[in-house]
Subunit: 453 residues, 2 copies
Amino acid sequence: MKPIQVGLLGIGTVGSGVFNVLQRNQEEIRRRAGRGIEISMVADLDAARAKTVVGDTAQVVSDARAIIANPDIDIVVELIGGYGIAKALVLEAIAAGKHVVTANKALLAVHGTEIFAAASAKGVMVAFEAAVAGGIPIIKALREGLTANRIQWIAGIINGTTNFILSEMRDKGLDFDVVLKEAQRLGYAEADPTFDIEGVDAAHKATIMSAIAFGIPVQFDKAYVEGITKLGAADIRYAEQLGYRIKLLGIAKRRQVAGAASGQVDGVELRVHPTLVPAKRLIANVEGAMNAVVVQGDAVGTTLYYGKGAGSEPTASAVIADLVDIARLASADPEHRVPHLAFQSHTLDQAMGTLPVLPMSEVVTSYYLRLRVADEAGVLAKVTGLLATAGISIDAVLQREADEVGGEGSTQTDLIILTHDTREGTMNDAIAQMQALPTVLGPITRIRKEELN
Amino acid sequence: MKPIQVGLLGIGTVGSGVFNVLQRNQEEIRRRAGRGIEISMVADLDAARAKTVVGDTAQVVSDARAIIANPDIDIVVELIGGYGIAKALVLEAIAAGKHVVTANKALLAVHGTEIFAAASAKGVMVAFEAAVAGGIPIIKALREGLTANRIQWIAGIINGTTNFILSEMRDKGLDFDVVLKEAQRLGYAEADPTFDIEGVDAAHKATIMSAIAFGIPVQFDKAYVEGITKLGAADIRYAEQLGYRIKLLGIAKRRQVAGAASGQVDGVELRVHPTLVPAKRLIANVEGAMNAVVVQGDAVGTTLYYGKGAGSEPTASAVIADLVDIARLASADPEHRVPHLAFQSHTLDQAMGTLPVLPMSEVVTSYYLRLRVADEAGVLAKVTGLLATAGISIDAVLQREADEVGGEGSTQTDLIILTHDTREGTMNDAIAQMQALPTVLGPITRIRKEELN
């Protein structure tokens, strides 16, 4: 059978990786795929750079549409990124009857519904293993490996930049700003790190996973997104003393109706925020720029997937796995091929009706609270009294000596409270009331906590 | 489309799990698979027990061949186990044109080549996710998720019984025999635990993974198999002091030719034995009956897969994932469907010629040695002198005070040596020479060590 012909849109870091790995491992990949996989065209605005990568093995063009228009191209790989031209090109490639492979999480998290519908209508595949957690085959695990399960929740370290920063902050006791600069110097953070440190990138990925896990459409606009920029070294230290680590988690959770029959749910939680995780959990020990995703299914229990979430060849590993999948399965009846989002697309609407993404105020989780308080009698009683009135039950309290916190002679101290599960809306009200107490001297820090068991 | 019809051969622990999960999650599974999946026949010698599980939903028969002979059955699920009748029934089901799903690692590790060849000839699928690491979708990860990679090595905790025993030995400082009895009482070890504690079960699974990772046939008879029955609490303690944990690992490694051009290999190491692993590795922190597999690929780097390796519903999760795969992909051209062992079957012979499984004496690894020695001057010099003469280089030495080991007034002590990489044959010779020294007072303990980085 003749080799499958691939056109790359964009040959930067990931594109070069795809080209190099396909070249280096072509023999094994051909043995696995049942046919060769050849990059025969590459589109890049920087044609000179593209030529240094591919040499004479592929035709280099500056116009991506020349690839889409070429009837010999079977698969278009979109590695441009963003929502703009990338969206147009992906839709045009689909319209031209090409299978599409993309690493573009932003595009899928926002426009996935439109893109997958177009692909289904045309009978082509859109594969996107590289869009979530780089080289870890987590999309495949969710979409195919765990199909027996009612997925209960997913919690993942799905942004390497922020995990690197948090690891360094904990290891070295440094503050966020200092470590961010170091991460930028080492290439772990971009010059404009906003998407990473504000949690947007993780939210894109969590959105995609939520759709595959629960059979709902991608709904990035409903995700709650909170980054790590306000985390202080003190919170990381206090968390450690209480047996926890702080990780930026992307969480998608099926919310059980309280007191209802088993399995009845009223919605999906979709949120990204710094999270206290028990230090003994494997995911709490994922360090540096590594990624890991924990998936809890009702039959399988807890599973975890770990690996590199970014980088040229790890991401290429995922892109090429998609190419091999397409080479293997292109001949399957499109109606019964693996659905893009794990569930057959005609069942998505029905699911959307029953499983809305819940507003953050309806989320139920436990909390870490840090209050800077006056070091005087009765403060703890007042604070805990307010929480009791709000119906919030306390799991643990850590009160520091004033001298430890503010230096000798200090009249301020930190009061740390861990709560049991509480509705976020209830917690918001309680925090507002505590904040109004005259003995609470600074803004209250609130970090959510997940036991992940 | 009409539901796919499944016949179960055997409805014990795993079979009941398959039935229950398919019932409970039928709506989600149907949405994922694109059609219903129904167990319409069950064969079990204990028909009464089978009826208590399936009620009136499926026909219960005592003769498995009645299922194979039924033209309405699309998929036969073999959950009998062992090499005997299970092999005959699997081959008969294939001959009858049924797809087969099996959790039978022993059967596949020994007779896989024959079974897969029969299935390929008939154009049916044999799926076996449940055969390795229970609910963890590791077969799918290796066969489909990591197809871009030249897999360098796999190292897995793939037997829950032995990991439970090792975890308890470490936690509580107890000896093997004591913990084994406890594990039997708790149901983590069988009444006859031989297959688990002697490493045979892990070797079956490692054999299957080696075939998928390297494109070689299953060759269980060439695997080196060593269990945990000779491990002492002292070795676990000494390992801990040196920064290591002891795990029973199944290892499959592509062996690089020393000094040869990149990628040139001379064979595959396939071995199961207790192994020192650095305590800081995630896999060293996999406790109790949990499983985890680390896979190192040249593009993706290190990845890890963690979850429950046994039990009714975790194993059922894997069996049902296979059923969904078949429901989705049955319509694909058999020539270009996912190959059973990841590589197209006609390329296996060619690979066997170039990648033999190496004899254990050719394996290269590092070692932990414990010598019970006379507490007198010059012993260390003699031992290290012998190692130096053999060309074995030493990484670390730990010598205990005699009193710590043998009690006050003792004239014996333990000498612990960690070596750098050495050929096993060289180490065998060196151990024989050290054993002959008059100051070496008991049998030398040798445990292999892997850095897994």
